[in-house]
Symmetry: C2
Subunit: 102 residues, 2 copies
């Protein structure tokens, strides 16, 4: 499997991070990842179709929120908490601690 | 002029607020409004075409970030800071204090 592309921490954009978190499925994925060290796509998809979830992971990776690595035949995802925190101090916690209706 | 529609504070959605702030023009408008009590569309448009800016104001109103009222022949916009803060404590400051590249 080819390795996934990820932006450098210095390249992260506030607008792109906010856009990535403006969707309830992606917000769910990030909230889940904030509680674990890493998780497979299957553990994070909530039973949703693979095509839908693949798109959401791509948006999260391109925003710099999620790092995906190949591990044998599976993809392991983790939250880039240190990178996000260094670039946008306090932002992630301020968003993830909010209550949502969903 | 017809009054503009605005969602109640209880109807605000985190995803919609984040989406509204995921655009650099809208982020600029909100940052400007955070520094003043109220501003006309002309003071906030940065010389951009009216059609473009009207759309951005609509997104900001629908997210509950901006309140627009008619005052004679002009529209006066203000930030709904109290409503946003009561619904999503700490969120707005955590976003507006971030540095952007733009």
């Amino acid at each position: 499997m080819r390795p996934f592309k990820h932006p450098a921490a210095s390249e992260l954009s506030l607008e792109r991070v906010l856009y990535a978190l403006s969707d309830s499925i992606r917000l769910d994925i990030v909230r889940h990842l904030a509680r674990v060290e890493a998780a497979t796509c299957g553990e994070l998809d909530g039973g949703r179709p693979k095509s839908t979830v693949s798109h959401h992971f791509k948006v999260l990776r391109e925003a710099g929120l999620v790092f995906t690595r190949n591990s044998g035949t599976i993809h392991l995802n983790s939250l880039r908490r240190t990178d996000i925190e260094s670039r946008f101090p306090g932002l992630l916690d301020a968003i993830l601690t909010q209550k949502t209706d969903s």
